[in-house]
């Protein structure tokens, strides 16, 4: 996980470093990291972590306003009832579906936008616009688009002969999941497009010329030349998207509130519901701790690998 000492990274980045002797650099400089480090540690890591651990061991009563020590009972309960496992599974389904569609669309659209054709600049601009929208507002817009018996989507599908009558988008569990996935795909495919375009700009045009001289097909060119060059950019973009999908909340709050029958309840929505609707603070905290454990394990296994290979990204 450790990168080579700072200087090597700097040389790799800019090739401009022939600085002062290391001994002198030590001096007081590292003190500068402390204000922001303490801010993050105290506010976002240490305090929430210990608070969650503490609360996860207690049962809080709304009636009396008192907490009783219950040991690991909250954890046992959490996994004994279906809600929590269901929310983890729902988050996983949404993550896998949204991430694969976004990646596939992002790669194909970015590859096309990287070619020369008339209207390319305009297409580029229009195709990244969804990125500038507000997730919770998107939730409401998609509620309108899929509004029972007044849905323009239904209307178009009916006109094309692909459906008949009203489609129960938000009443059917899998259709509701599809809508929720669609909102994310709609907004964040643009993210994949601009990230992959940035990666593609690092592939020299001469590489494609050589591939053509070699009589490679477009398919071969992609797998042998383009993909290896953008592999880390792609990994980075997918990783960031995956982490954000674990947090997925806003559009669900607006469209389905987790329903129907908790078919679209992600883990973030569940923790919010436990903590601020049901006031089951102990469950919310136990659920949070478990999510943290997942994220930390993923961090050590995946994030550090993608991020420590950053020299080869540029």
């Amino acid at each position: 996980m450790m990168l080579p000492a700072g200087n090597a990274a700097v040389v790799g980045l800019g090739g401009v470093d022939e600085g002062l002797p290391v001994a002198k650099k030590r001096s007081w400089g590292f003190l500068l990291i402390w204000p922001s480090f303490l801010y993050l540690l105290a506010f976002l890591i240490v305090y929430p972590f210990f608070y969650n651990v503490y609360q996860s061991l207690f049962s809080y009563s709304m009636l009396t306003g008192t907490s009783t020590f219950v040991g690991f009972q909250n954890y046992v309960d959490l996994f004994a009832q279906p809600d929590y496992a269901n929310s983890l599974l729902t988050s996983l389904i949404i993550l896998v579906a949204a991430l694969s569609i976004e990646t596939l669309l992002g790669i194909t659209i970015a590859l096309m936008l990287n070619q020369d054709f008339r209207g390319k600049v305009l297409a580029r601009m229009l195709l990244i616009l969804p990125l500038g929208t507000i997730p919770v507002v998107n939730g409401y817009i998609f509620s309108l688009l899929f509004f029972p018996s007044a849905s323009p989507i239904d209307h178009v599908l009916n006109m094309l002969g692909l459906a008949h009558g009203v489609i129960p988008w938000l009443q059917d569990p899998w259709k509701a999941r599809a809508v929720v996935i669609l909102v994310d795909v709609w907004q964040w495919t643009s993210f994949m497009i601009i990230m992959i375009l940035a990666g593609l700009s690092s592939v020299p045009k001469s590489f494609y010329e050589l591939a053509r001289l070699d009589n490679m097909s477009a398919w071969q060119t992609f797998w042998r030349i383009t993909l290896p060059k953008i592999k880390l950019t792609l990994a980075l973009a997918m990783l960031i998207r995956a982490m954000d999908l674990i947090k997925y909340f806003d559009p669900i709050f607006a469209i389905t509130k987790g329903g129907p029958q908790s078919a679209t309840e992600t883990v973030s929505h569940l923790i919010y519901r436990f903590g601020f609707k049901a006031f089951a603070i102990g469950y919310a905290s136990a659920g949070s701790i478990f999510v943290w454990a997942i994220i930390w394990v993923m961090s050590f296994l995946v994030i550090s690998r993608v991020f420590t290979r950053k020299e080869s990204l540029i």
Binding site: L40, S151, M195
Partner: protein, 280 residues
């Protein structure tokens, strides 16, 4: 522009159709938002839908400002995001400078990695602790409370991205300045800050972009319009008597304009922000 010769006519047609299809799909919800905000109330939920409303009106915008404290909410949103961005920059730039210019134990694996990991923790998991802390400190329904939280969300990205900007400034520049008898502090203010000004400006934009639509924290940490931002004001338009679609869409249009301008004009910088300064 020269085309790559291997592009067949069939492929060019396919590409045009594919891109056109997705452009339409990507723009349609935005169009629907604008249409709903401008159309009349009776036209909002007609079936078959009115793709082009027959009556245009600005009533929903007027209602936001006259009946719903819209100007306060919008002003809150602007103030909170700008102040949080400035706070994150003020804390993050010195740290980024230290990481870029000094060596210390645990720099990459300890400090930078911990900083990064805070970006990946779902806010929902810190919601309960932060809420009860805010209750104790009197920060609930307080703009300062939102600023503190948003600065925390921005800080990891500020540190990573500003480090990459400062890495690009040759050390020789501050060193020659210091050889003239100036202190390192002087070099930081006279050399590093001015030279990284474009980076700081970009970072300021990125921060505003990232927190502009934040919903979950503001939903829990605010209770009345005096401290609410646009996303939470939007959610409050869903009430017991129904959903005020036109006002939601009007808020959406107002909130989307500045952020759409950022993504059109600062695209390269956004990529840099999204990728923690790794992609240039």
């Amino acid at each position: 522009m020269r085309r790559i010769q291997s592009e067949s006519v069939a492929y060019r047609v396919f590409r045009a159709v594919y891109l056109l299809f997705f452009t339409v799909i990507f723009l349609f919800p935005i169009y629907w938002m604008v249409r709903t905000s401008l159309g009349s109330r009776t036209e909002t939920l007609l079936y078959p839908p009115r793709y082009f409303p027959q009556h245009f009106e600005l009533g929903s915008y007027a209602r936001i400002f006259h009946d719903m404290n819209g100007s306060i909410v919008i002003w809150n949103t602007i103030r909170v995001n700008i102040t949080a961005a400035i706070l994150a920059l003020a804390l993050g730039i010195p740290a980024a400078y230290a990481v870029s210019r000094f060596d210390f134990k645990g720099k990459e694996g300890g400090f930078m990695f911990t900083v990064l990991s805070t970006r990946f923790l779902p806010p929902a998991t810190a919601l309960v602790p932060i809420y009860f802390l805010y209750v104790k400190l009197g920060l609930v329904n307080n703009l300062a409370g939102l600023v503190i939280a948003y600065a925390g969300l921005n800080l990891p990205i500020v540190i990573w991205v500003m480090r990459s900007f400062i890495d690009e400034i040759p050390r020789a520049m501050e060193e020659s300045y210091m050889l003239d008898g100036h202190s390192r502090l002087g070099a930081f203010f006279k050399i590093i800050l001015p030279l990284s000004l474009p980076g700081i400006a970009a970072m300021f934009m990125i921060c505003n972009f990232l927190t502009w639509g934040e919903f979950l924290l503001s939903a829990v940490l605010t209770t009345t319009y005096t401290a609410q931002t646009i996303p939470i004001a939007v959610a409050q338009l869903e009430g017991d008597i129904g959903i005020l679609w036109q006002q939601i869409c009007a808020y959406g249009v107002i909130a989307t304009v500045p952020i759409a301008l950022i993504i059109v004009f600062f695209q390269r910088y956004l990529v840099r922000g999204f990728s923690f300064g790794i992609l240039k």
